[in-house]
Structures are given as structure tokens and as C-alpha cells.
């Protein structure tokens, strides 16, 4: 077997992300994959692909004889909540001419900078790290984004392409709340089935009665009092007293 590669990312020579992007764009016209550059020193760039073409692109990446990305090493989610960004916008304004200007003078213009606050809608992102065992190269990183951060956001499952995604997509469903359409067995993986929320979302709030005690005391009592309204007098409900 060949000696190890000198590439800092530890991969053998493979086409660059731009070449791969061009090939995908030629193969799937109108699908609209984009390259997401990684500004950090790791320089592991990724491909953002739309949900509609994800299955076809994944099968292409797996079956292409040059790439042969036969295994999916890592699947995970990232939560990007709604946020407000402040942008500096440059605008050209026409200055009203001073009162004593003779008629017919071209009014002067000037550039003003304004700070504009804009709401950026959030989304959930699922990241796939693909490697080739046959050729020993990788990673090719795929990203899929949901439209918003709602309760039933759906993305296509890549488990039919790589079995390796089976448990990991279940975990993303469990902890982030992304529903994978086409997954053979989409159940919660780590939390119990009756659990309602998705703990890895950034806005997740731990429930008060996480460790419910019949007679709460100390910290749990303070939290319980904050959460539950005081019972009517004489109701005899000792649990939330």
C-alpha cells in the first residue's frame, strides 16, 4: 500500500471542491448546489445541496467510479436560530440645492452610511461526512438545510444510500427534530419515546419537572413554584405547595 499522503487533512489526492461542484452542476442541471467555504485553517469545504436533489446527488457520489464515496462516516445536525444582523448599507442621496443656487445647477449627491437591522430566519442544517474506503480519500462534506426551525421540518433520508446513516439520522431526529422522509425506522434513539422536545436545539429549555419529586425542596421547589400557579387554598395539592 502507498505511503501516507502529505496533505494536512490526511486525504489522498482527490478533485477539489470546485471541480466536484462543476461536475455535479453539469450532471444535475438546475439543481443548484453551492460551495460553502470553510474560513478556518482546516479548509474542509462543503457542498450545500438542495433537499429535492439530495438522493440523486448522494447516489451519484457513491457510484461515481472516480469518487466511490462508499461510506458515510459522520452525520450530524447544527441549529442556526433566528437572529438579527446589523448591516451597514451605503445609500446615495440627492442633496437639496441651497436656496441661493441659480436655477439649472445639477443637484449634488452624497453617500450616506446607514445601519440597518435585518431579521435572518434560522434553519437546521444536517452535515454528512463522506469518505471512500476503496480509494482512501475524503472527506466530501454535504450539507442540507431545512426551510425553517419548525416542529415538523423534513429532509430526505440518505439511509437508503448509506446504511451508516441509519442510527445517526435517528439521533438527529431525536435531538434536533429533523424528520427524515424515507428513513426505514425513524424513532427516537437516545431520549425516551414519550419525550416531546429536541434537546440539542439552541433554544431548548430544560423542563422543571425533569426530576419530579412528590415533595419538592430547595432548588426544585423554587423552580416548581415559578412554573406552577399556586393551588387554590384548601385544595390539598401537596406536590406544588
Amino acid at each position: 500500500m502507498a505511503a501516507a499522503p502529505a496533505d494536512p487533512n490526511g486525504v489522498t489526492a482527490m478533485e477539489t471542491i470546485e471541480q466536484l461542484h462543476a461536475r455535479i452542476a453539469a450532471r444535475f442541471p438546475g439543481v443548484g448546489a453551492t460551495v460553502v467555504l470553510n474560513p478556518g485553517p482546516a479548509a474542509q469545504h462543503s457542498l450545500l445541496i438542495p433537499a429535492a436533489g439530495a438522493r440523486a446527488i448522494a447516489e451519484f457520489l457513491r457510484d461515481d467510479p472516480e469518487l466511490q464515496l462508499d461510506t458515510c462516516s459522520n452525520v450530524t445536525g447544527i441549529d442556526w436560530p433566528d437572529r438579527e444582523v446589523t448591516e451597514t448599507v451605503r445609500r446615495t442621496v440627492t442633496e437639496p440645492p441651497p436656496a441661493d443656487t441659480p436655477a439649472g445647477t445639477v443637484p449634488g449627491t452624497r453617500v450616506v452610511e446607514e445601519k440597518v437591522r435585518r431579521a435572518m430566519p434560522g434553519h437546521l442544517e444536517v452535515v454528512y461526512h463522506l469518505y471512500s474506503v476503496a480509494q482512501g480519500h475524503g472527506p466530501v462534506i454535504l450539507r442540507l438545510r431545512t426551510e425553517d426551525r419548525g416542529e415538523r421540518v423534513t429532509l430526505p433520508s440518505l439511509t437508503p444510500v448509506w446504511r451508516a446513516c441509519e442510527f445517526q439520522e435517528r439521533e438527529v431526529y431525536d435531538l434536533f427534530g429533523v424528520v427524515f422522509s424515507g428513513h426505514p425506522d425513524l424513532r427516537r434513539l437516545l431520549m425516551w419515546d414519550e419525550f416531546r422536545d429536541h434537546p440539542m436545539r439552541k433554544d431548548y429549555v430544560e423542563p422543571d419537572d425533569y426530576e419530579w419529586e412528590p415533595t419538592p425542596h430547595d432548588r426544585v421547589l423554587t423552580r416548581a413554584q415559578r412554573h406552577y400557579p399556586a393551588p387554590p387554598a384548601g385544595s390539598g395539592d401537596s406536590a406544588t405547595r
Binding site: 487533512n9 478556518g40 472527506p139
Partner: protein
């Protein structure tokens, strides 16, 4: 797959279920508290007579949302938490995490630290595979004796770890840019002595076990994993190589200074439980070769990059996925930085969990007693599976 009846609730151990194809079936819930599951793991096996027709693993009994903890603490504060993932192999967990952060921040590592990391990682591999060989025999019903032989040697390695890091199992040893402490000459001499006599232990153990008729009968041809399925299902580590796939990240990625060390990669021919056992026994002998070379050639110099920043560590925005060949397979960390002191996203790629993807495929058609051995040969640690 058969149209399956809903899984039994937790607590029910055995119940009768109906299936339109098989007729009367028996559903056996093993675990979460069962000696053969190596921790709090539960499998729900549906039996037709004595044969398994369906097997669903149930996870989460040891879940503490390790990834959320990682997002709520600084980069360095996660290092001791990584010890608790695969608590047999804290040294390799530390290395995988340090490697990912070093990639994220573009941090260099001194040569001596790379050697120390290789020495500790190969000692960890010895430790893990020795434990596995002991537990596997325990699972076949050979109660006690082989496990005690294995644990005697494991304890010798743990003594080395304790002398170096202060803790037997929760070593918390690697830092971003090197190692926490420099091994003393005495420690290196003790490690060299252990390496010299470990071969004799392996010979002794193999003489007892490897050609043992009961082990052969129980493991050969049991739980065969085809190579194509193994690759597609993301199986890594000795389990993948037992199916005959030549894939070892020490060779493929060449991380650290592994390209300097010649070693052979043992491959299985059948992908059965016996191959998974045998590949690990052979890997230990290769590890001894790497250890001898690393202890012989260990260069001088610092074990920690003096320019590396420990406090106030804030990598630039970006992301990185770093992975190493842990004793159980590919252990990787995926980190996203937004420029703050905590990782924005901290993800562990747990080899134990992903290797379990094929558990049902391996167990179909076998008996419950075989499922116990198959699970043992996959080599899981629940601290890592459930995180």
C-alpha cells in the same frame, strides 16, 4: 423485514407475539441490566423457536447529552469529559479530540509529543483488545479464568497510565498542542519492560484460547459480516478489517507520525466472530512492534508547543472534522467554531454506536446465546454508545 408488532414496553421481559408470516413468536427483552450486554444496553430479540428473526437494539440508558455539555463549556473543559466516552480508552479519545481542535485552530504539535501520543495510543489498543479477548471468552460461558488473565495484564498497563497521568482510566492527558506532562526516563523504562514481556503473555493466552475447541465451535461461522455491507454501514476498526477490508486510518490518513512506523494490517477472511477475535490478537502484536520502535526512537524536546494557548483559547470561525483509528474504530470529533470560547457545535462520532448498525444483520438466524457472543465481538462501551 417482516411487518413487525410494536416493541414491548420497558420492563416486560418475555411475551408472546403474533406475526402473519411466522405465526407464534416469542419476544425476549435482554437488558438493560444483563451481564452480557457490557453495560446498560437492551436488545429486543424476537424468536421463532430458538432462532432470532428480528432484533432491535434500544439505546439511551446512559445518555447525558455529552454534546450539549461540550457546547456549554470551553474547548479545554471538554477534554476530561472525553475520557468518559469510551472509558476504557481515554487516551485515544483525548487524542481524537485534541487532533480535531488542532485542525480547527491550525495548531502544531512537537515531535516528542507525537511520539508520546503514539506510545499511549498503542498501549490503549493493547489494553482494549486484551479486555475484549477476556470478555469474549466470558460471553461464551468460560466464566472467570480468561478474564482474570486478561485483567492482570490490563492492570499493568493501567498502572503505567496512573504513574503518568495520575489516574488509571480518566487520564485527561492530551492538550491542544501536545501533552500535559512529559514521561520520565523511569516511566519509559517501565513501559519498555511491559512491552518486552507482553509478547509472552499473548503467547500464553493464545495457547490457552485460540485453538480451544469450544471457542472454535462457538465463534466460527457465527455472525458473518460481508465486506460490502460493512463498508456501506460505516463499520470501522478491527470489525471492518475482520471482513477483509484493508482500511486502517493509521495508514489511510497517516495522522500523527504513523507513516514513520512500519506495521502490518491483519485482515480476516470470513468476517465471522472468530475473525473479529483473531484480527485483534494479531493487531496487538503489531502494536508491540510500533511501541518498540517508538520507545527506541523517542526524540528529545518539549512535549507541548510553547506558543500554544491554553487559557482564553478562541479558534477563528470555521469547522473541522478530525478522526483517528481508535481501538474500537474511527473515533472522530466534528467542531464548529463561531469565534467564541465554547464550540458552537461539538459532535462525537462514536464508533461503538455505528458498528452496532449491523447487529441485527449479524444475529438473524442465530440463537440468543450466539447473539451474546456477536455483541461481545462488536466491542461496545455504553459510555460512548449513549453519550
Amino acid at each position: 423485514m417482516n411487518p413487525a408488532p410494536p416493541l414491548s414496553p420497558a420492563g416486560a421481559s418475555v411475551r408472546a407475539v403474533q406475526d402473519p408470516f411466522h405465526g407464534d413468536l416469542l419476544e425476549v427483552s435482554m437488558g438493560p441490566h444483563h451481564p452480557s450486554t457490557h453495560g446498560v444496553f437492551r436488545m429486543i430479540a424476537t424468536l421463532d423457536g430458538e432462532r432470532i428473526v428480528r432484533l432491535k437494539p434500544v439505546f439511551g440508558y446512559l445518555h447525558r447529552n455529552h454534546e450539549k455539555l461540550g457546547e456549554n463549556t470551553s474547548y479545554l473543559a471538554s477534554m476530561p469529559y472525553t475520557d468518559r466516552l469510551d472509558y476504557l480508552n481515554s487516551m485515544t479519545n483525548n487524542w481524537a479530540y485534541a487532533l480535531a481542535v488542532e485542525k480547527l485552530a491550525g495548531q502544531a504539535v512537537p515531535e516528542r509529543a507525537e511520539y508520546v501520543r503514539i506510545i499511549l495510543a498503542e498501549l490503549t489498543r493493547l489494553l482494549n483488545h486484551t479486555c475484549l479477548a477476556g470478555f469474549l471468552l466470558q460471553d461464551t460461558g468460560c466464566s472467570g479464568t480468561p478474564l482474570m488473565y486478561a485483567f492482570r495484564e490490563r492492570e499493568a498497563i493501567l498502572d503505567l497510565f496512573e504513574a503518568l497521568s495520575g489516574s488509571r482510566m480518566m487520564c485527561n492527558f492530551q492538550r491542544f498542542g501536545g501533552c500535559r506532562l512529559d514521561p520520565s526516563p523511569d516511566w519509559l523504562a517501565a513501559a519498555a519492560r511491559l512491552v518486552e514481556r507482553y509478547g509472552a503473555f499473548l503467547d500464553e493466552y493464545e495457547e490457552l484460547i485460540t485453538v480451544n475447541e469450544i471457542l472454535l465451535a462457538r465463534t466460527q461461522g457465527v455472525g458473518v459480516l460481508p465486506a460490502a455491507l460493512a463498508v456501506n454501514a460505516g463499520v470501522t476498526g478491527p470489525m471492518l478489517r475482520a471482513s477483509g477490508v484493508n482500511h486502517d486510518l493509521r495508514r489511510v490518513d497517516g495522522y500523527g507520525l504513523y507513516p514513520r512506523f512500519p506495521f502490518r494490517i491483519p485482515l480476516g477472511a470470513h468476517g465471522d466472530t472468530y475473525d473479529r477475535y483473531m484480527v485483534r490478537m494479531l493487531e496487538m502484536r503489531e502494536s508491540l512492534g510500533i511501541l518498540r520502535a517508538a520507545l527506541r526512537d523517542l526524540p528529545g524536546g518539549p512535549v507541548f508547543d510553547p506558543k500554544a494557548k491554553l487559557r482564553g483559547f478562541r479558534p477563528k470561525p470555521g469547522e473541522a472534522y478530525g478522526r483517528i483509528e481508535g481501538p474500537k474504530g474511527e473515533i472522530g470529533f466534528y467542531l464548529v467554531s463561531d469565534g467564541g470560547p465554547n464550540p458552537y457545535r461539538y459532535r462525537v462520532r462514536p464508533p461503538s454506536l455505528i458498528n452496532l448498525t449491523v447487529l441485527e444483520d449479524l444475529c438473524l438466524g442465530h440463537t440468543v446465546a450466539d447473539a451474546v457472543i456477536i455483541l461481545g465481538s462488536i466491542d461496545i462501551v455504553l459510555g460512548e454508545v449513549d453519550r
